[in-house]
């Protein structure tokens, strides 16, 4: 490791550690590198600006943010929820199942776990805790756990970011997330069923069959969205980035004209809020682009890779080790930072060790999503705490078992890459290994 790189990393750790925004910390650390290395300082701005300007796929991020915000504001979430209650509310642990199924459907429309928890999650927690049917902590915990599915099933904002740093196809990444997402959904429902039986949680009143058609019809246009997106992308009609615009347009048409639930003033606020979020993420992306450039020019990933190959490390041991590290980092860091800054370090090593990069990407995204519910720093826990006022310690107490189950599911997906790769292969993906 060169002196300038060591200084760069210590600056980054120090500044980020004392609470300087991550985006600024990475840019400043890069400037330290350039100054000590005697290179042109303008290289920092140059890399960030050309990087942002050249990566068309990243435009999906602001558009998916707009889409998710519109869906939450325009009663689309509420309608989906009534539909889910009529389908699975009648079983043991009723609203718990509704929670998971609603997340599954919602995840097919939005690429964000936070949007899921803040929108649909908030409504369903209110339903679950009304009349003391479920302990508030449990309601919050299952909401948090099921919200992690959001970015696993396409569309997905984190997968777009992974595609950016790994040069993999977003189309195949999206496809590869479908089965793992459904798998995790099923596991969560099974867990909910078992816990509901042990702790004697109530069923919901069965919705009569006569009401079903009306409820379904009411939710039908919203239910079409995942289908439209998938057909659009895999029918070759739109690129995954354009699909983000289609999702936002469709949500806008539904909320504005079909359900008539969106005022102009609300729409304006949605755009302001989405612009804010896009810009904060954009700044972290800009910083990550510079840092990744430095890391690459220092040959760190390939040195790491050579070192690991020299150790004759088994690919499975490598991927398990990386996952443990990511889980640990996930308890402390934001998912954006992990995907954009940490994961690129391991990508060349994956290639040299014969690990499929689509498989690795899906695993890494699931892993960072689990990081969203692991204390002390779990974004989903904070969001649910903020929108429902359920105390964090109650949420965390009930979250452990969900965390354990999610990590076990992750392990299964690591050990059996076929579960992840089967669907993309059906659509013509040829793994290079």
């Amino acid at each position: 490791m060169s002196l300038q790189f060591a200084l760069c990393i210590s600056t980054l750790l120090f500044l980020a550690g004392i609470g300087t925004p991550i985006g600024y910390s990475t840019i400043l650390a890069s400037i330290v590198y350039l100054v000590v290395a005697g290179q042109d300082i303008a290289l920092a701005a140059e890399t960030a600006l050309w990087g942002l300007y050249d990566s068309f796929i990243i435009l999906a991020v602001p558009l998916f943010i707009v889409a998710a915000n519109i869906m939450n504001a325009g009663t689309i979430s509420d309608r989906l929820l009534s539909f889910c209650i009529s389908c699975v509310g009648r079983f043991r642990g009723g609203l718990g199942h509704v929670n998971v199924v609603a997340s599954l459907i919602f995840s097919g429309m939005s690429g964000s776990a936070i949007a899921d928890a803040a929108g649909i999650g908030k409504i369903i927690i209110e339903m679950m805790t009304k009349g003391n049917r479920f302990p508030p902590g449990y309601a919050a915990a299952i909401t948090a756990a099921s919200a992690t599915i959001g970015p696993i099933i396409p569309p997905s904002i984190p997968m777009v970011m992974y595609a950016l740093v790994s040069d993999q196809s977003i189309g195949y990444l999206f496809l590869a997330g479908i089965i793992p997402g459904l798998f995790i959904g099923l596991i969560l429902m099974a867990l909910n069923f078992i816990l509901a039986t042990i702790r004697n949680f109530p069923k919901d009143e069965a919705v009569s069959l006569r009401e079903m058609p009306k409820i379904t019809l009411n939710a039908f246009p919203a239910l079409l969205m995942p289908g439209i997106l998938l057909y659009g992308i895999y029918g070759g009609i739109v690129t995954p980035t354009e699909a983000a615009a289609v999702a936002a347009t469709y949500a806008l048409l539904l909320a504005g004209f079909f359900y008539r639930a969106l005022k102009i003033s609300t729409l304006y606020e949605i755009f302001v809020r989405s612009a804010r979020s896009s810009a904060t993420i954009g700044l972290v992306i800009a910083g990550a682009l510079i840092l990744n450039y430095i890391v690459a020019s220092e040959n760190i990933p390939s040195q790491l890779s050579n070192y690991l190959v020299g150790l004759d490390i088994h690919p499975l041991a490598f991927i398990l080790g990386v996952n443990l590290l990511l889980l640990f980092l996930g308890t402390l860091l934001e998912a954006t930072t992990i995907i954009l800054v940490i994961i690129p370090l391991f990508i060349p090593a994956c290639g040299d060790l014969g690990i499929d990069l689509i498989h690795f990407g899906v695993i890494a995204v699931i892993n960072t999503m689990i990081g969203l519910i692991t204390p002390p720093f779990g974004m989903l826990l904070f969001v649910i705490n903020a929108v429902t006022k359920i105390p964090l310690k109650d949420i965390i107490r009930e979250t452990w078992i969900f965390m354990a189950v999610l990590i076990s599911s992750l392990l299964v997906l690591i050990l059996f890459p076929e579960i992840v790769l089967w669907l993309p292969q059906k659509f013509g993906y040829v793994s290079s290994y």
């Binding site: 980020a16 550690g17 004392i18 609470g19 300087t20 925004p21 991550i22 985006g23 600024y24 400037i31 042109d40 303008a42 920092a44 701005a45 140059e46 600006l49 942002l52 300007y53 068309f56 435009l59 602001p62 558009l63 943010i65 998710a68 964000s112 776990a113 936070i114 949007a115 904002i157 984190p158 009609i237 983000a244 615009a245 289609v246 347009t249 304006y268 755009f271 302001v272 809020r273 989405s274 612009a275 804010r276 979020s277 896009s278 810009a279 904060t280 954009g282 700044l283 972290v284 800009a286 402390l332 934001e334 998912a335 954006t336 960072t368 969203l372 002390p376 720093f377 974004m379 903020a386």
Partner: protein, 168 residues
């Protein structure tokens, strides 16, 4: 003074929102022209990318507040208030120093780009990237004000219960 500042923030916010809306509309135009009119237009891609660069740095200059940034704040909020103040002072100072040493070379590079234009719309790249200079100046000002306030003993951040603008 106060009202002028509030108005300024409101207007910058609406500019951010308008840029995002423009990005969105350009995308729709692109899809529409290709599949409905069967006559793909090429300029939308470039327009989107230009708007995106402006959206990010414009919003970070005039719309996003310090406490809305993605931050690792576990340690920051765990330490005593006077240490937290020192942390915040160091962070602000570091940002100012970083901008101070890099602004001239960066300006030089951006200015040099006057010879380069974008491929389709022929927008001078100097204009596209000039927002970064505005961003540097604005950020310097923001952290200078923050530094002064912190040094005077005001403005110390407290942990808030409202979630940050995080979207993953």
């Amino acid at each position: 003074m106060k009202t002028a500042y509030t108005w300024f923030l409101k207007i910058s916010e609406s500019i951010s929102a308008a840029m995002l809306a423009a990005l969105f509309i350009a995308f729709i135009l692109q899809i529409f022209s290709r599949y409905v009119l069967n006559d793909p237009i090429a300029w939308t891609v470039e327009a989107c990318l230009t708007i995106w660069v402006w959206l990010v740095f414009w919003s970070n200059s005039f719309v996003v507040k310090h406490d809305e940034h993605i931050t690792f704040d576990l340690l920051y909020f765990a330490v005593k208030p006077n240490i937290r103040r020192i942390f915040a002072l160091i962070g602000s100072l570091a940002i100012m120093v970083g901008i101070a040493v890099s602004i001239y070379p960066t300006w030089d590079w951006i200015d040099f780009l006057r010879i380069k234009r974008s491929t389709i719309l022929f927008i001078p790249m100097r204009a596209v990237f000039s927002i970064y200079l505005i961003f540097m100046v604005a950020t310097f000002a923001i952290y200078l004000v923050r530094f002064i306030k912190l040094a005077k003993g005001q403005n110390l951040d407290e942990p808030t219960s409202s979630p940050k603008e995080e979207v993953l």
